[in-house]
């Protein structure tokens, strides 16, 4: 089976700090990583390939530097990678991004499964995967914990608020993946060296059939009006008592006073 995994290179948001003087994000020195949910999606893809054979292609939209993330994917089981890069794509919201990516998918060929991380950790929207499915006219299963093939059907273990459900669908389908029990594997020295040597092609708007009025900032229906850092809470009440019982009694009386319980 042929699997496409969509990957985004993102800043490691756990490393981002806020400059409280200027109230802006300190991005300098923040490492760029493969979006963690995309890494989980790739790992599920590699496991399917190991079981059923086939190929794994990585598609990413981003600047030239994103090739570093693509090489990382090649070192942990992907067969080939393609970077989609064009200044005309800059400023795209999820509708425009999913339109561009799905136009590229049509160009790249036929895939049995298209896997995405459930969301990127910078934008946190969880919209690009389902929107790609809509552009491509494919069924979707979101929040996948595991994927298996059985008698030609795709069986997905889908996370719900209270547990999980087993969903059956047919290929081709788009599946978005959450954090699963299958930790992304590590590269070996050998696979890393091979990935470093790989030549990753860049395709642009000229290589795909696309209506550029639906791409980029201008083609995006949502507009960012402003961004700001969340207000810092005033540090709260500190309770430090000699015994646990005293601390607990003090807390309950404070909560009662504040009418919280």
């Amino acid at each position: 089976m042929d699997i496409l995994v969509c990957v985004k290179q993102v800043p490691d948001t756990t490393e981002i700090k806020i400059d409280r003087e200027t109230n802006t994000l300190i991005r300098a020195g923040v490492p760029s990583i493969v979006n963690p949910f995309d890494a989980f999606a790739l790992e599920l893809g590699v496991r399917l390939k190991e079981k059923h054979g086939g190929t794994i292609t990585i598609l990413s939209m981003g600047p030239e530097q994103a090739k570093a993330a693509l090489k990382e994917c090649l070192s942990v089981g992907a067969d080939k990678a393609v970077l989609l890069s064009d200044r005309a794509f800059g400023g795209s919201d999820t509708l425009a991004t999913s339109y561009i990516l799905s136009s590229a998918v049509k160009k790249l060929g036929k895939f049995d499964l298209i896997l995405c991380g459930k969301q990127a950790i910078d934008g946190d929207t969880a919209q690009v995967g389902p929107e790609m499915a809509e552009h491509l006219g494919l069924p979707q299963v979101t929040y996948a914990l595991d994927i298996d093939m059985k008698d030609g059907d795709v069986i997905v273990k889908r996370e719900t608020e209270t547990g999980y459900e087993m969903i059956k669908t047919k290929t081709p389908a788009v599946i978005t993946v959450v954090k699963t029990e299958f930790e992304p594997r590590y590269a070996t020295i050998k696979s890393k060296m091979a990935a470093n040597k790989a030549v990753i092609p860049t395709i642009t708007s000229a290589d795909i059939e696309i209506d550029l009025t639906r791409a980029g900032l201008k083609g995006s229906p949502t507009k960012v009006k402003k961004t700001f850092t969340p207000s810092v809470k005033n540090s709260g009440v500190k309770i430090k008592e000699a015994t646990g019982a005293e601390a607990a009694a003090k807390l309950v009386s404070l909560l009662d006073e504040a009418k919280l319980i």
Partner: protein
């Protein structure tokens, strides 16, 4: 400039589960009223399911001026294809100006499908809603970068304006079962052949009696400080006394002490309860991203410098093994006296 004269009224999609309304849809009738009134529009609830007229009546009690009701066997359980089809056809017919959808798993599954079909903008997982004074558009505010940055988004050139809104951010109105409003039944069907997914099995791993995290008013969470899986018993003890749900940090989940369904944080659930009690959780940014919008945060930790204390309204410095059981007893005592 577009005037969108044809587009009017604010819709709140009332998600159902097992035939009952999920809390978030009823919550959204509250900000929905504010936004609808600001633009002198009707507040319309949209209910889809099988035998869900009670949900429609509930939506009226919680503030809807009108309900659009779609019922059919194909809508008994949620499926992307059937629900996207129903919402899309309904939106084309009625042309709402705004649609609010709860940012649950299914809400975030159908939202992008709908907005993409309608070729309009969708803003994800909003935590604040307002009307932009200059343009009259909805100003959707949402966290990004793991909660490090807030962004306010507009959808100025297309209609409807659609957003998913985080559960627990808004409080439900007091229900008034004497309110009257019209329930309009719409006959929109989805042929079985158009539904390309089948639910084979539904498994609930969060205990039968446990409240689910997204809907919980109080959450008690445990982290690495618990030391071993058996110690979650003291977290559950406090949760039971409070009628709370049990959450966990990534460290506790990764250690295998509790299933991932309980994880709060960037790779787990995003919650916004009235009270969040973090026990033995240091407060890594990825955990804070999932719970910092809680109304009141209580932290119990022996490390005075733990970052969780920076956002805690009440910080208890000390041994959780002493404090948590004592707190459980205090709460029981308190409840008995009330």
């Amino acid at each position: 400039m577009n005037t969108f004269e044809d587009y009017k009224n604010l819709w709140v999609y009332i998600e159902t589960e097992d035939g009952a309304a999920k809390s978030v849809g009823l919550e959204l009738l509250n900000p929905g009223r504010m936004l609808a009134d600001a633009n002198k529009e009707k507040l319309v609830a949209v209910v889809i399911g099988q035998n869900v007229e009670e949900v429609a009546k509930k939506a009226i009690a919680y503030g809807a001026d009108e309900v659009l009701l779609i019922e059919g066997t194909e809508y008994k359980d949620y499926s992307t294809d059937a629900y996207a089809n129903a919402l899309n056809k309904l939106a084309i017919k009625y042309k709402p100006s705004v649609i609010l959808i709860g940012a649950t798993n299914n809400g975030r599954d159908v939202g992008p499908r709908l907005s993409c079909r309608l070729k309009t903008g969708l803003t994800a997982d909003c935590t604040a809603l307002a009307i932009d004074q200059e343009s009259g558009n909805v100003a959707w505010t949402r966290p990004a970068f793991g909660g490090n940055l807030m962004a306010t988004i507009l959808c100025p050139n297309t209609r409807p304006q659609i957003g998913t809104v985080r559960p627990g951010v808004f409080k439900k109105n007091e229900p008034d079962y004497n309110r009257n409003a019209e329930i309009i039944r719409e006959n929109i069907t989805t042929p079985a052949s158009d539904i390309r997914t089948t639910i084979l099995e539904v498994v609930k791993t969060v205990g039968e009696n446990a409240v689910n995290l997204e809907e919980a008013e109080i959450i008690v969470s445990g982290g690495r400080g618990l030391g071993k899986p058996e110690n979650f018993a003291i977290i559950k003890g406090l949760a039971n006394a409070l009628g709370a749900a049990v959450g966990a940090s990534r460290a506790a989940v990764d250690a295998g002490w509790i299933p991932h369904a309980h994880q709060v944080g960037q790779t787990g659930k995003t919650v916004g309860p009235k009270i969040y009690i973090a026990c033995g959780i240091s407060g890594a940014i990825q955990h804070l991203a999932g719970m910092s919008s809680s109304d009141t945060i209580i932290a119990i930790n022996k490390d005075e410098d733990a970052p969780i204390f920076d956002i805690a309204d009440y910080g208890l410095i000390g041994d959780l093994f002493e404090i948590v059981p004592a707190l459980t007893e205090e709460i029981k005592k308190y409840k008995n006296t009330k």
